[in-house]
Symmetry: C2
Subunit: 374 residues, 2 copies
């Protein structure tokens, strides 16, 4: 990646891929089952997204990676020509699959959709991500549960390191795909500084194209998460992308950018949109709340998304109450626009070396609350 400017520990720059550039810090909308729910891909692009995340676990089960490969790959399948990062399946197999069994070889499990039996291993995960045509491939790891003892966490981290090496070897198997695309390692080690340091060191030894921090935002709380970043980030290579997986709320992202993270993904803006929550500079707004039903103003008069340009709170509130599909469509578009605007603001502030001021203003505006006065 090219780092164009730094401000404290924060950095802004560009990650180049064969599918185009990713401006960092970047937020990746989640397109679990080959679609960002309730959104056309061109609308996702209009919100400002440079890259999407796809889920190996979901896609391997339905419609299957082999089927997507036969149809020309995930980009063509879902009509998203820009970069795609796929996760390894390690996280979802632990959170969604039934009857999982972890061995040194990998994880055998039953599909949550139809109970069919499957296996994920570093080699199979690399094969699936290659079949999908991912531009950024994630190493297969075990996402350590939280809480876990130091001993449990160490055992899990060491397994992830061995799987990381096998992922690296499987990725670099001579395929054209490996030549044109990137593989990221995932730092584990829970909330234990020594284990995080040990994990980073082992992954650096393997030499990945980028490094993710995994196993956070799993219930430990923001203070603990930031503490882990505080001691983990200085160990990570400066010249390579750093990705905080599954994070997060807007203030999580702001704090992580201050600590040197370049990439994020989270279902929050899209999932919240489907349940009637709107993100704004002054906090979240529940569009189901009855105070909106006569309100002619947009969710946020300063937002440029079509939900804010063309519709009132009253209308969006009506759609959500009536269970109309257009409600999730508009709120997802708004929330993704909010997230991408936040990332653009962070990038601009780092470029101007005024990140502290930006962050102060961010927190002050939120603390003011009063989302009705936007």
């Amino acid at each position: 990646m090219e780092i164009t400017q730094t401000d404290g520990k924060a950095r802004t720059g560009v990650i180049g891929t064969v599918r185009g550039e990713i401006r960092t810090p970047a937020f990746m909308p989640v397109g679990t089952s080959a679609t960002v729910k309730a959104m056309k891909p061109e609308t996702v692009r209009e919100t400002g997204a440079d890259i999407l995340l796809g889920n190996t676990y979901h896609l391997m089960l339905r419609p299957t990676a082999e089927r997507i490969a036969n149809l020309g790959g995930l980009h063509k399948f879902m009509n998203w020509p820009l970069p795609i990062l796929t996760d390894s399946g390690g996280f979802q197999v632990m959170s969604l699959a039934k009857l999982r069994k972890i061995t040194e070889e990998g994880v055998s499990f039953q599909s949550h959709i139809d109970g069919s039996k499957h296996m994920l291993s570093p080699e199979r995960s690399m094969e699936i991500q290659r079949l999908l045509g991912a531009n950024i491939v994630m190493a297969f790891d075990e996402c350590t549960p939280y809480p876990a003892t130091r001993k449990e966490t160490e055992k899990s981290m060491l397994l992830s390191v061995r799987w990381a090496k096998r992922s690296y070897d499987a990725f670099h198997n001579g395929s054209d795909h490996a030549r044109d695309n990137a593989l990221f390692g995932i730092v584990q080690g829970g909330v234990f500084e020594g284990l995080r340091r040990q994990s980073v060191a082992a992954l650096k030894e393997i030499d990945f194209d980028g490094y993710a921090v995994g196993g956070l935002a799993v219930g430990e709380g923001q203070d603990v998460m930031f503490e882990v970043l505080d001691y983990t980030m200085p160990q990570m290579p400066k010249a390579k992308p750093r990705y905080l997986m599954g994070v997060g709320k807007p203030d999580d992202i702001v704090g992580a950018v201050q600590r040197g993270i370049d990439m994020f993904d989270c279902v929050m803006p899209s999932r919240s949109g489907r349940t009637g929550q709107a993100f704004t500079r002054r906090g979240t707004v529940n569009m189901k709340n009855s105070r909106h039903i006569d309100d002619p103003r947009p969710i946020d008069a300063h937002c440029g998304c079509s939900a804010c340009k063309d519709y009132s709170r009253a209308y969006i509130s009506h759609l959500i109450r009536s269970g109309e599909i257009l409600g999730p469509m508009l709120l997802t578009e708004h929330n993704l626009t909010y997230y991408q605007d936040l990332m653009a603001g962070l990038r601009g502030a780092i470029s101007a070396k005024s990140l502290d001021d930006f962050v102060d203003e961010f927190h002050k505006t939120r603390a003011r609350g009063d989302v009705d006065a936007l």
Copy 2:
């Protein structure tokens, strides 16, 4: 309306409104609760729609006509600047409401949403449609059930005639709205020629801006429906718009256009889209069928909608199977495009005085079937 060309009994032309022109024969997508389900209004426009239909019954219950009026009217509320026709509520109150009671005054009923008590009468229906800001207002009528005896049908038709007169008087109460917008009467009389003739004569006496044929497509079958049109249409004023309510399947529309109908509405293209059905020139395709899951071709290579330009059958089939919102979004867009393309074809054929050839080709293509060879 301006009739620019006729071909047999069929006509093509333009209905002018303060919100823009409606090219006829016209198909009106149904925007029941102030939204065409799963569609942004700009996408509905892109399919070729000149006018939408809104439902008085749904809107009076939620969010209420008074609320929409306070927010600037239905056009602004739902971001549809073009013409809107609203029905009178007469049909839905019979098919959806609970504990209905019909008197000479009107219909009292309970909401199917929350059980709250309401009343619809000719005067209240006119008031609601005025509050919504409809460009074409429908007279309040009783939709006669099918089957019904001649006696029952006559009684119902005569009630509708009395309500039509009250609708006319209430509409023309001196409001600005009546000056700028139109009121259509609704011909009833079931499947009885004498009663249909009597209904038309009585409505012509009142002198509406357009005339609808109601009480069809309620289970009587296409042959009976066409028979009713065959003897009803010659009675209707030639210079005014003729609207066949709630119709229909593509071949219903083609046959009705041949008999002189100018306007249609139906939930079929949007509702079918949400259940995985795609309309094509060769008939309907069930996108849930497993034969599509590896098919790289679009639903219809000759269709210009974004579902056909950007996506494969395999992908749309995946979306529908996975319950993804983008599935209904794309299929609704495709189906509405199919309907609007059919209307454009009918208008073109009438203009060229080649409607018979167009209709022959329409039926031949459908009879050929083989939707996989589109």
